[in-house]
């Protein structure tokens, strides 16, 4: 019984609980609509402890959300299947009660306070690494199209809640998306052959 029935007062465990529930609330509501009181209530913790342990609401947001914003889970795998893996990940339905850093990002980016912080982290921890991981020409443009297609799908599916209405539609999206993403990752150098005006 190491952790079982641990000490009634454990600062580390308390901070962890705050962090965990903060992730969920920030993800569900976005930064501005999330209130410190709701986070504290859900974590069964006094509101003032948020300021004690994280300084401010924004401090908690940086610690709980901004620091985990990354594409590394995708970039760790082989580059050949990157497109397919990203496509599948967001096309497939997942439990709605989880924490998704990018849903949180998209719901919080309108905020005056959280927005700038998110921006810097997004560029440094997600966009630039992806662009660097690619080969060939126009990596920045290809990374942009890939990430923005992803972002748009997250917006429609997870934020708007407009998931595909039929399995047929879902599989059609998956198939087209796999082709598009693989094309973008590979960058098959057929850049500007569209020609005319």
């Amino acid at each position: 019984m190491a952790t079982r029935n641990g000490p009634k007062r454990d600062a580390g465990e308390t901070a962890d609980r705050i962090r965990m529930h903060a992730r969920l609330v920030f993800c569900e509501k976005g930064y501005d609509l999330a209130t410190t009181r709701e986070i504290a209530d859900r974590a069964h913790v006094n509101v003032a402890l948020i300021n004690r342990y994280f300084g401010s609401k924004l401090g908690l947001f940086e610690d709980a959300v901004v620091s985990v914003l990354s594409l590394e889970p995708f970039l760790e795998g082989p580059l050949e299947t990157l497109g397919v893996r990203m496509a599948d990940f967001y096309v497939d339905a997942r439990p709605k009660d989880g924490f998704d850093p990018f849903v949180t990002l998209l719901r919080s980016v309108a905020s005056d306070e959280a927005g700038p912080v998110l921006l810097k982290a997004l560029k440094r921890q997600a966009l630039d690494p992806l662009s660097k991981a690619m080969n060939g020409t126009d990596t920045a443009a290809r990374a942009t199209l890939l990430t923005t297609q992803m972002a748009g799908l997250i917006v429609k599916f997870r934020i708007f809640g407009l998931e595909p209405e039929t399995d047929n539609e879902r599989e059609a999206i998956r198939a087209m998306l796999r082709r598009y993403f693989t094309l973008l990752v590979d960058g098959d150098s057929q850049k500007d052959q569209s020609g005319g005006p």
Copy 2:
């Protein structure tokens, strides 16, 4: 001198001025962060008039923003160039001080109040018409990919403010986007030839 130097007290003109500035403020800040006081101040109008003429903040939002949410400007043109026109419209830089319904949509969708209203309007006034305008199979899936790629680009360029850093990158994006969109609009029936796992 019909409208010139019109009556000092003109309810219609006052409501129009409120509507106009409401669009700008809602677009810049999103629904939640936009305050009725700022809208009223910018329109040189007393705050209480917003409630007089539009009932509530949400009423103003519906009147000024939700009602103009539409893809008709694009759908009116020929279907053959729909993809290219949508691509160009958002790839090209535009003045930042204007009102863009979709930027407003994306900045406001996190709101508890405005979100549901926006959702219904988006589906009815934008997604469904686009899907209906297309020919061939999997129109819903193709419309989804097209609109979500658009939405993602709007998010990155206009909301995150991460426009392409070089002309080269911008033109590369435009070229790829034109091909992708045209492919999606035409729907060249090469749906599921990616095959096994």
